[in-house]
Amino acid sequence: MTGAGSAAGARALGALTRAGGADRGGIAAITRQALRTKRGAIGLALVLAVVLFAVVGPFVAPYSPDALVTVPLSGPSGHAWLGGDFLGRDVWSRLLAGGGALLLLAVLATLLGVGAGTAIGVTAGLVQGKTDSVLMRLVDVGLAFPQIVFALLLVSVAGARPWLVVVAVGVSHTPQVARVTRAATLDVAEQDFVKVAESNGVRRWRIIVFEIVPNLVSVLMVELGLRLTFSITLIAGLTFIGFGLRPPAPNWGVMINENRIGLTLNPWGVLAPIAMIAILTIGMNLFTDAFASAAIGVDRAGDLMLEAAPFAAEAAP
């Protein structure tokens, strides 16, 4: 089912990006290239399927997520497809309703973390010198904490509110992202097109935004994908421990926690939300992986012409 669906989806998306008119070198071209691979197409299809499920789910759920409709921890039946949870609520309905909030928080946390990390990393990589040292030592301090501990620390100090979960998870991503983007920036900053902008007296922030960041797309895309899956597991984990989103609101993380006592009676209460998170994570990883290789491929296509071109390799002294 996923195979046929994903192929059709890939075609549709391919047509969409082609219509956008961007060519080799553009982000659309890389996406298109990524979708031509099996990994990329399947990955994106899985992600879209889970997102669709989470967005449309609340509107098509047969019952209210809070309604007690069946025997607690009863197995699947005709009117409760995935059985009942520990209070007798419909697992299928809660599964449909419980993805939206989790995904929204994860996306926000990821954007915050990758955004802040990129800002720090690119600045350090471009400016270098003292600024670089100070920023990177701070990053090292951040790296010294395991992410989950770091997030827990923030949430436990300030209390469990949704926005705080976003900040905590986002901030816990920042040091890692900063490290990666700084390394990538060092490569790009050496290129002559950055020197052209510098020698024209272009302001630094403009160089960062218009010259450097576009060349970090493949790195950033991989980071976004990776961090998104981390965010989801982190938030689900925080929720599982009791921080983050509180019951009775339906939520995949909460569901895993609530229903584990009935694992032997109705495993679906635990397995179904785990499966959703797993599908999303796997899909995201497949797609970003394909995207990263496609970015290399697209850049190489240009380099192929360079291969035979002779260089007077004057190393800048």
């Binding site: 080799r24 020197k195 002779p310 002294p317």
Partner: protein, 611 residues
């Protein structure tokens, strides 16, 4: 050396290639086809061609190898009786290094960076009779002493020339039947290049090795090869004795290459070949060269030309026998005398250091409005650092730079916008100077918007005009750099500088990454633009041969000091300093038959430039 360079006895043939064909891995198109040639013991065949001509593919095939994405489809490569293309992988591996050796383009990458030279040499002689004892001898062959400073060094501690000699020593050590050299002197400066070329020629002759020398540079091939094969679009279009091919080229492409090549002793209007070579799978039916050919006839359109063979001279062209289309000498060009106005750009007493090392010592120069000043020097002479000091990209320097009489701040951040606009730069490598994620329009519009504050349609007008001024179609505006050829990219880079209407243009080795035919077109463009716009040019190059065609005056740099400066023609015809003389003498040139070698006294006092 045998005079004619022809293959005499069949018994002496060491390499015999027949109908070699390399295809894309999916078999959809050929990359190289119908390639046949012989090389006798002690002889050198030069394979010449531009990017994408298939010369490197042929070089790899001679080792029984092909790049990923290609396959060796058919034909034979027979070395001393063994067909490498038919050999099993295990057998092939045994032959490599022993029977066939390879000298790569970049010795810095070919040598293992974490292994001392002694061990790498030992590996190359392992299995030979008294291998290690032969190390001093094989080093002496390439003109290196078996001193501990060399043997115990890591590759990065040697100069580029020394690294390449070590590679040569390793290749020649087992006395192979065939040596394939892939542009081994690209990236070396002329003095070192000359020595490497001499070494290759001497060793091939004295050990009876057949060598194949691949290069984009006709002049280099003319120096080293007995026979020359000119490749275009995967075919050998002309093959014959070097002197013959260079003196009486019969294929229009060979003639085009010769016309495009700069000559150090005359100001020719170097002529580019219009258009670009077709890629594999996109070649037109009939003759692949037809779209760029000045003498094509109807027949060329649909019939691939057969080989025409004169005595020992093969040409793949219908009009090869037509004597009427054979002019080789480019029209001479009168270089107008340099203008006499006030100095536009004046640098005095510039000294710069890089870490502890001083790379520039009191360098001064001045350029008058509308003049072209060439700054010439070998790698490491400090010419790029000089440009960076002038541009304010390096801040750690002393001295002063005046523009229109006003002194400029040391750092680019301290300079006025109007000054920055008036002095523009074009960088060496168009593959790195254009942002790969931007369209041509975005690349060109950036500086225009930055300096003029204009937006939208006004910018588009300026940008289109700039593209037209470098002879590119405005259709390219929506393209990304990856979709452009090297020559097109460099034109875009020039257009970016011109779009903001500068008065001084600093060009840093802008043609060194380009093919000769493209180089000729770029130089011509620059020359025309200079006259048209009264531009002041600072033209940085290592290639002396370009000077007469573009520059009025010249500054020669060595080890960060000005060795000599003055009028181009005066200096090229009567260089006062030994260094300048050696640069001129060592520059490879296209007229080897009868050209006398430089007097020994010119070069004798020069040590090889080491780091």
């Amino acid at each position: 050396m045998t005079g004619s360079g022809t293959v005499t006895g069949a018994d002496r043939i060491r390499l015999s290639v027949r109908d070699l064909r390399v295809e894309l891995a999916d078999g959809s198109a050929d990359v190289v086809a119908e390639v046949s040639f012989d090389v006798a013991a002690g002889h050198t065949l030069g394979i010449v061609g531009e990017s994408g001509s298939g010369k490197t593919t042929v070089a790899h095939a001679l080792l029984g190898h092909c790049r990923r994405g290609l396959k060796l489809a058919s034909g034979s490569v027979v070395v001393n009786g063994t067909d490498l293309l038919a050999a099993a992988p295990e057998e092939l591996r045994r032959h490599r290094g022993r029977m066939v050796a390879f000298v790569p383009q970049d010795p810095g990458k070919a040598l293992n960076p974490v292994m001392r030279i002694r061990r790498q040499l030992a590996e190359s002689v392992a299995g030979l009779d008294n291998g290690r004892a032969r190390i001093p001898a094989i080093l002496a062959d390439v003109g290196l002493d078996a001193r501990p400073e060399i043997l115990d060094a890591y590759p990065h501690q040697l100069s580029g020339g020394q690294q390449q000699r070590v590679c040569l020593a390793m290749a020649f050590a087992p006395r192979p039947d065939l040596i394939v050299l892939d542009e081994p002197t690209t990236g070396l400066d002329v003095t070192t290049q000359r020595r490497v070329l001499d070494t290759v020629k001497r060793l091939s002759e004295s050990y009876g090795v057949a060598s194949v020398y691949v290069s984009h540079d006709l002049a280099v091939v003319a120096e080293v090869a007995d026979r020359v094969a000119v490749m275009y679009a995967g075919r050998v279009v002309e093959l014959g004795a070097a002197a013959d091919v260079l003196a009486a080229p019969s294929h229009p492409y060979t003639r085009g290459l010769l016309l495009a090549a700069p000559r150090p002793n005359e100001a020719t209007a170097m002529e580019g070949i219009p258009g670009y070579p077709p890629r594999a799978g996109q070649r037109p039916p009939g003759c692949s060269f037809r779209p760029r050919c000045p003498i094509a006839v109807d027949r060329c359109r649909d019939t691939p030309p057969p080989e025409f063979v004169r005595p020992d001279h093969l040409v793949r062209c219908f009009r090869a026998a037509d004597e009427s289309v054979r002019a080789v000498a480019g029209p001479l060009r009168e270089q107008a005398p340099g203008p006499a106005g006030p100095a536009a750009l004046q640098a005095s007493q510039i000294s710069a250091r890089y870490g502890r090392r001083q790379v520039l010592h009191d360098v001064s120069f001045e350029v008058r409005q509308g003049e072209c000043l060439a700054i010439v020097g070998e790698s490491g002479s400090g010419k790029t650092t000089l440009a960076r000091c002038v541009s304010g990209l390096v801040a750690d320097w002393t001295g002063s730079v005046r523009f229109d009489g006003a002194e400029l701040a040391r750092n680019v951040r301290g300079r006025d916008r109007s000054v920055l606009q008036k002095i523009q730069y074009v960088y060496q490598n168009p593959y790195a100077s254009l942002n790969p994620r931007k369209t041509v329009r975005q690349i060109l519009a950036g500086p225009v918007e930055h300096f003029s504050g204009k937006r939208g349609a006004a910018v588009t007008a300026v940008v289109s005009q700039a593209l037209e001024s470098v002879a590119l179609s405005p259709q390219l505006l929506r393209r990304f750099p990856a979709e452009l050829s090297g020559g097109e990219r460099q034109r875009v880079a020039i257009a970016r500088a011109l779009a903001v209407e500068p008065s001084v243009l600093i060009c840093d080795e802008i043609t060194s990454a380009l093919d000769v035919s493209v180089q000729a077109a770029i130089i011509r463009l620059l020359h025309d633009l200079q006259l048209l716009r009264d531009l002041t040019l600072v033209f940085i190059t290592h290639n002396l041969a370009l000077l007469p065609s573009i520059a009025h005056s010249v500054v020669v740099l060595q080890h960060g000091r000005v060795v000599e400066s003055g009028d181009v023609h005066a200096i090229l015809s009567a260089p006062a300093m030994p260094y300048t003389r050696s640069l001129i003498a060592n520059a490879p040139r296209l007229d080897p038959p009868g050209h006398e070698n430089p007097p020994q006294s010119w070069t004798a006092d020069l040590r090889e430039t080491t780091k």
